[in-house]
Structures are given as structure tokens and as C-alpha cells.
Amino acid sequence: MAGVGTEGGAISLAPSTGRSDAGRWQDNPTLLRVLSVVLFAGIWQIAGMIPVSFAFPTFVDTFTAFLGMIADGSLPKAYLSTLQPLILGVVLSTFLGVGVGTLCGLWRTGEWLFIPIFIVLQAAPVAAFIPMVTFIYGIGMTAKTLAVMILALPVIVLNTYKAVRNVNVSLIAMCQSFLGTRWQVVSRIILPDASPVIFAGLRLGVAAGFVGVVLAELLITPTGIGDLITFHRSRANYAAMYATIASIIALSTLTLVALEWVETRMFRPEKRGA
């Protein structure tokens, strides 16, 4: 059935550790990364200068607007209100998701009962629920937190479940052969062995959480980053609007890179260094 597989083929965003011994510029990863950023900014700048649309500011304008919004405090204030439900939602989803996922991985009836729901929720456009959530919980923190959880929970549950189900069987046999109790098998073998995949699921959960909180703010609650976007759009202040959007995308990317870095550090000794 659909959805239990993770999305493969990702390119690592974490700083590349590869050395380059040849002097050719094509082989220098740092240089290429810088070049890639410069190219992106350059194309943006040119597209803004043509301009491709009246609503397409240049890169420089956008960056200036970004600095301006930091200076006048509107961006930090918006982030303060956006990050609270995001962090709360992700933390709650983590505990709930890892708990439910582990349970489903260990307990057959639980698996049968709950996993299909999460498969459906992961594959389906659950964003449709977000307007509904506001109807029940109003436009406050609760609604935003729930929006984050609706999007983040399924992927965390499914990754945890998959990790626990695919744990190395011979390690379990080993633990049992040394007279490990059921609890020891779970705590000393299954969870440590599953932890890299569980953590990868948390990373995907955080990415989904960002989508949830932005969507909630755009759709329902007139606060935070979403409100800032809507506000500047209504004022036709496009540079500020683009800057806000770029900042949330940048923040989410940086968070994911940091998590990926932690992941390789903590869980994937074989991937560390080269």
C-alpha cells in the first residue's frame, strides 16, 4: 500500500566534507556552492530588473526590505508568534508520534488498527482540515499547534513504525540468547537500532510542521509570518512580502540542515567524515 516508503534520492544539504585535490574550479565544492548562490541571486536580480512582472522585486530590493523589517522589529515579532506553535507542535508530535509508532511496530493489533490511518493521512491533502480546526478552536495558538501536528504527526509515526519493524532481527536474537528481557530487547536493541530512521522521520516532521504553521497563518489566524505576508501583499509592498517568504524558507532550510548535521553526528558514524 502507498506511503510507507520515504522519499528517496535526497541530496545532502549539510556542508560537504569532500576534499578537492585537483585545482580545477569544477571540482571545488565550496566554490561551486557560492557560485550557485551567486547565480541564483543574479538571475533573481535580472528578472526583477526587466521586470518579469510588476510584482517581482529585484534581489537587492528584497534584501533591503529584509534588513528593514529586522530593524523595525516587525519580522522578529512575527517569528516570535510563529515559532511558538511550531515548536510546541513539533515537540508534541515527536512524543506522540514516536510513542504511537513504536507501539505499532511492536504490537500487531495496534499496527493493524492505526497504521492505515496514518498512511491515508500522509498521502492525502490534510491541509483541507486546517480551516476546520479554526472552527473548533478559534484562531489562537491551539489551532496553529494542531495544524502543525496534523501535518507532522503522520510522517513521524510512519517512520518510527517502519524503523521498529525493520530492526535487525539477529540483534534481537542475540539479546534474547543472552537472556535479555522483553523490556531490555526494546530499550537496548530495538530503539537504539531504530533511532537513525526515527530521527530522519523527525526531520521530515519538522519540514511538514513548517508547512502546517505557514498554512495555518495564511488561511486562518491573522498573526505571525503568514499575516506579515498577507499584510505586505495587501499594501503592494512586494519587496517586503518576498523577503518574508524567503526568510521562512531560509529558516526552514537552515533548521533542516542543522538537524541533518546532528543526524550524521549522532546516528551515522559511518557517514561522518570521509
Binding site: R108, V120, A124, P131, L218, Y242
Partner: protein, 250 residues
């Protein structure tokens, strides 16, 4: 799960949940949750209304166009990145960023660039679906065994033959997996786009139903949407299984 020695397929548990839903609905515990049977009845009525039919046509058309664009652009881009290192180095970072970024934040930009209509929805589908297609295609091309390429070269394959007869086929399982994930993301894109634009297709319907508290219809529409998403991914998965069958020996 097995009961009395019979294996019960996992998805069957959804029926249990439907029954639970019915009971909760009958008990009138929450106004948001009408009984499941009522939702089904609403679904049957809903599909007969012209407003649903025209919304479905709009939605499907935007979805199909957006998906077609993202496949037509995404697959060649992925092949390019898989084959040419410089392209990979320059584009890889951005593809990666966009594949996991909160793209919903970009929908307002699409709205001012493309207006409050179908074009925005198409752009949203494209934006949501393309990155994973690029990433998976690239991974597929990267995984092609070098000896397959050498084989083609040693038998004098032209550049065109190399791409058309070897690379495209050898990467096909990953390309299809990417398209399947892209379709799932595309459905999310169409829904998020319509919810935000709020006057097109299903977005408009959702808006009306939730504003007027027509819960049975709201749930009916949700279920139809979910069923559509699952159906699509199931269909592609069938196709994938077929490809896996002859690519099984890779």
C-alpha cells in the same frame, strides 16, 4: 493481522474506524462529526450537483496540466543533473531546498504573479510536484550501472540512443517512484492552492461548506479528495510493480 487463522488485510481496519465514526456521529458528541452514513449520503448527493461537477473539472484540469508540466520539465532536469556534474553542483542545492521548503508560503507570490485563477493553481501543482521528480530521476540516473553505459558505448551507441535506449529505461523505476511521490505532492498543491485562492474549484466549495457549517458535505468532499489521492498513488504503484518485474535483476 489474523483472526481465527484468517489474514485480515491491514486496510480493512479503516472499516472499523468508519463504524466508530458512525457511532460517535450517532451519539451526537461533536457537532463537527455527523454520522458516517450521513456523510456518505451527502457524498452521493454532492456528486450530482453541478457545482461539484464543475469544481471537479476545474481541479482535475489544473492538476493534470500542472503534473504534465512538472514531469516534462522535471525528468529531463533530473537526467541532466544525474549525468552532468556541473549542473548537479549548481542546481542540486536549490532543488533540495525547494523539495523540503514550506512551499505554501510561495502560493501568495503565485497569486500575485498569475492572478486569482486556474493559472495559479497550475503553478502551485507544478511547484509542489517537480522537485521530488527531479531528485528521484537524478538518483535513478546515478544508480545506473556504469557497465551498462560502457556496453552501449562499446557497441557504438549514439548520444541519442544512449539516452533513449539505456538511460531513460534504466532509471525508469526511480522516475516512476518520483512521479508517484510527485502526484501525491501535486494533490496537496492543488488543494493548498485552491484553499488559499478560495474562489476556485474545491477551495471555493470547502469555503462555502465550512462557512455555512454544512459538515456532512465538508466531510464528503474531504473523503472524495482523499480517495482520489489514494487511487492515484495506487495506480502508479501498480505501474511501478510492473516495471520492477522486469527491472528486478538490477
Amino acid at each position: 493481522m489474523t483472526i481465527f487463522g484468517y489474514r485480515i488485510p491491514m486496510m480493512a481496519s479503516l472499516l472499523v474506524w468508519c463504524v466508530a465514526w458512525e457511532i460517535v456521529g450517532r451519539l451526537d458528541l461533536m457537532i463537527m462529526v455527523p454520522p458516517f452514513s450521513e456523510v456518505l449520503r451527502a457524498a452521493v448527493d454532492l456528486v450530482q450537483t453541478p457545482s461539484w461537477q464543475s469544481a471537479t473539472v476545474t481541479t482535475l484540469r489544473a492538476f493534470a496540466i500542472g503534473m504534465a508540466l512538472s514531469i516534462v520539465v522535471g525528468v529531463p532536469l533530473g537526467i541532466l543533473m544525474g549525468r552532468i556534474k556541473l549542473a548537479d553542483e549548481l542546481l542540486g542545492m536549490w532543488v533540495s531546498i525547494f523539495s523540503s521548503a514550506p512551499l505554501s508560503a510561495l502560493v501568495p507570490v503565485l497569486m500575485i504573479l498569475f492572478g486569482f485563477g486556474e493559472k495559479t493553481i497550475i503553478a502551485a501543482v507544478f511547484l509542489f510536484a517537480i522537485w521530488i521528480i527531479v531528485l528521484d530521476t537524478r538518483a535513478g540516473v546515478r544508480h545506473i550501472s556504469p557497465s551498462l553505459i560502457e556496453m552501449a558505448k562499446s557497441y557504438g551507441a549514439t548520444k541519442r540512443a544512449l539516452y533513449v535506449k539505456i538511460i531513460l529505461w534504466a532509471a525508469l523505476p526511480e522516475i516512476l517512484a518520483g512521479i508517484r511521490l510527485g502526484l501525491i505532492r501535486g494533490v496537496k498543491g492543488v488543494v493548498i492552492g485552491q484553499l488559499l485562492v478560495a474562489i476556485v474549484g474545491y477551495g471555493a466549495l470547502f469555503e462555502t461548506f465550512s462557512r455555512n457549517f454544512r459538515m456532512a458535505e465538508f466531510w464528503a468532499l474531504t473523503i472524495i479528495l482523499f480517495a482520489f489521492a489514494l487511487l492515484i498513488s495506487e495506480l502508479i504503484e501498480r505501474l511501478e510493480a510492473k516495471v520492477e518485474f522486469y527491472a528486478g535483476a538490477r
